[in-house]
């Protein structure tokens, strides 16, 4: 069996502020093959964005990787020098963001923003980069790309900006693309188009995609695998069908129950009572136990270790292997 394209092992991220160190991402592990889409799901503050920032070495100043490794094609990115890490960024792991309006340079033409990455990473000439940029705009589905390449971000609509941002990320020809809530800021109709575009690019380029989202509907539509985060830890991970059909972690089960589905109008959606835990003040034992409806004595006493109820399906719950526990 060959090693996966991207393997994250026991990745921890710590926040150090005023001499205090708080672990905000705790021993997260997952693996991703080329051509796979993994949905990284969780509530706000569950550590999904921080995990992905750690992957490409773009953590804000107060955060740092506290342990674990990120293996891209067998090479540990956490051990790289800053300069080598910078060269890896974009070229091997690219990233697109939630709010395309603010993530594009407002005073640079779209075509130039795309061409810049092509020139930097592929050493193309100005003219080659220019035509490659137009070509990328066409690939991401922007009509009339020759003309649009000369436009500025403010002349683009939200969906078009997201397409343009995807083009800037693709310009560096990455193998892994991290999409941090790429559709959250967009209209529902445009959301589906962008997701389809991402899947289409996955098929054509063999791109591996990590899709950060809090929308399980998006995951159900587009992902092969799913990883659920809660309170800075991974609580469940596995193939999408297995996880959505038979969740082994009560948090995942409750998340699925909270999704609106067609035809049940008129009923209030269920919700998970309580708040996500403050990372500075984590509950003892399982981090989900204060909000869990299936707790028993061990939940408050010991943190559940990952267990595998079936091959490739991980759940960090004391009951994951059955209620007999």
């Amino acid at each position: 069996m060959t090693a996966p394209l991207l393997e994250v092992r026991d990745l921890s991220v710590a926040l150090s502020r005023a001499g205090e160190v708080t672990t905000i991402v705790d021993r997260v592990s997952f693996a991703l093959e080329a051509g796979q889409v993994m949905g990284l799901v969780g509530e706000s503050g569950s550590g999904k964005s921080v995990t992905c920032r750690a992957l490409i070495g773009l953590l804000p100043g107060t955060l740092s990787i506290a342990g674990g490794s990120v293996l891209l094609k067998g090479r540990d990115l956490t051990a790289l020098e800053p300069e080598a890490l910078r060269r890896m960024r974009g070229r091997e792991i690219g990233m697109i963001f939630q709010n395309p309006s603010s993530h594009l340079d407002p005073v640079m033409r779209i075509g130039d923003q795309i061409a810049e990455g092509i020139r930097l990473h592929r050493g193309a000439s100005r003219r080659e980069a220019r035509s490659a940029a137009v070509d990328l705009l066409r690939q991401v589905g922007i009509p009339d790309p020759e003309q649009r390449a000369g436009g500025y971000p403010h002349e683009f609509s939200g969906g078009m900006r997201q397409r343009a941002m995807i083009a800037t990320a693709l310009a560096c020809d990455p193998e892994v693309l991290i999409a941090d809530e790429p559709t959250t800021a967009l209209d529902v109709t445009v959301q589906a188009q962008i997701l389809r575009l991402l899947l289409d690019l996955r098929d054509r380029r063999g791109l591996a995609i990590i899709l950060i989202t809090h929308d399980l509907g998006v995951v159900a539509q587009s992902c092969d695998r799913i990883a659920v985060m809660y309170g800075g830890t991974l609580c469940e991970a596995g193939a999408k069908r297995a996880v959505l059909a038979a969740p082994r972690h009560p948090y995942t089960a409750r998340l699925i129950a909270c999704q609106p589905s067609q035809g049940d109008g008129g009923h209030l959606l269920p919700f998970i009572p309580g708040q996500p835990p403050a990372l500075a003040d984590l509950p003892s034992g399982c981090r989900f136990h204060p909000r869990c409806d299936r707790t028993f004595d061990r939940c408050t006493a010991a943190r559940p270790e990952p267990s595998w109820p079936e091959p490739g399906h991980m759940a960090a719950c004391h009951r994951a292997l059955g209620d007999a526990a």
């Binding site: 773009l58 963001f97 603010s102 005073v107 640079m108 930097l120």
Partner: protein, 285 residues
């Protein structure tokens, strides 16, 4: 049907293409443009040699032959005014350009890298600002010796602080902005991010500021020439003209009045240009 679709498609574009430029910008650009034209065409349009003396016709009031009169040496005031435009514009523009370049570069590096570099640079800025501006200028010019070159050097040494502060403040905001994060996620280096992504965004407000700074610099240049430390007589310069005329101000008001008016009008022009530009580019003072 298609013809109708065609016209509706063209209409809004035409509207967009005619930029909604504020009136102040047009007026400012018009006034400044006029003076630039005068400066460029000085040899063609000036009726007399600006430094040729004609003592027989000294202190003539405005009238035919000498439209703005003559000064105490019989030099034509209009010609001196026209030639003086060159010097005064040059003082205004270069007296701002050098501090602008120096200040922008220092402010950008200081804000982007932060840490001890930032601390050191900002303390130097505080020290320079703590001195009265004119006193510091006069001291530097006194050391270097009077002249236009000394004026520019002194401006670069003293004037950069305001640009450094302005740009640094912008860079601090921009370096935490989303598009800079996006640029970093694409593997761009510090130099590329600073030069291509932060600077073009950071410079807008300092460009607007520089327009009003041109006014102050021209006035400063004229004042320093007036004090005898800038442009030296007999070169035609508005400040020099005012300085030379003060003994005759009761008898010959026109020698001082016209350079004064010219200075006021060009100052108005640059102010309007700065305000209009600020409004147009959406900068709040």
């Amino acid at each position: 049907m298609s013809a109708v679709a065609g016209t509706t498609a063209v209409r809004p574009r035409l509207k967009l293409r005619l930029p909604r430029v504020p009136g102040a910008l047009w007026w400012g650009a018009g006034i400044v443009g006029f003076f630039v034209l005068v400066a460029l065409l000085a040899p063609v349009i000036a009726p007399y040699d600006p430094i040729a003396q004609d003592t027989a016709n000294a202190l003539l009031p405005p009238g035919p032959g000498h439209w703005l009169g003559t000064d105490n040496f019989g030099r034509d005031v209009l010609s001196r005014l026209i030639w003086g435009t060159r010097i005064d514009l040059m003082m205004g523009v270069f007296g701002v350009l050098f501090p602008f370049i120096v200040g922008t570069a220092i402010g950008c590096v200081s804000g982007y890298f932060g840490g001890w570099v930032d601390v050191v640079v900002m303390r130097i800025v505080d020290i320079v600002i703590a001195f009265p501006f004119l006193v510091l200028m006069l001291a530097i010019i006194a050391i270097l010796g009077p002249g236009l070159g000394s004026f520019f050097i002194a401006m670069a040494l003293v004037g950069w602080v305001s640009y450094a502060r302005l740009v640094r403040a912008q860079v601090l905001v921009l370096k935490a902005s989303d598009f800079v994060t996006a640029a970093r996620s694409l593997g761009y280096g510090h130099l590329r991010i600073m030069a291509r992504h932060i600077l073009p965004n950071a410079m807008v407000s300092s460009i607007v500021f520089s327009m009003s700074d041109v006014v102050l610099t021209m006035l400063l240049g004229a004042s320093i020439s007036y004090l005898g430390l800038g442009v030296q007589p007999p070169t035609a310069e508005w400040g020099v003209m005012v300085a030379e005329s003060q003994n005759f101000i009761i008898r010959a008001w026109w020698i001082a009045a016209f350079p004064g008016v010219a200075l006021a009008v060009i100052a108005l022009g640059f102010s309007l240009l700065g305000d209009g530009l600020g409004e147009w580019l959406g900068v709040k003072e």
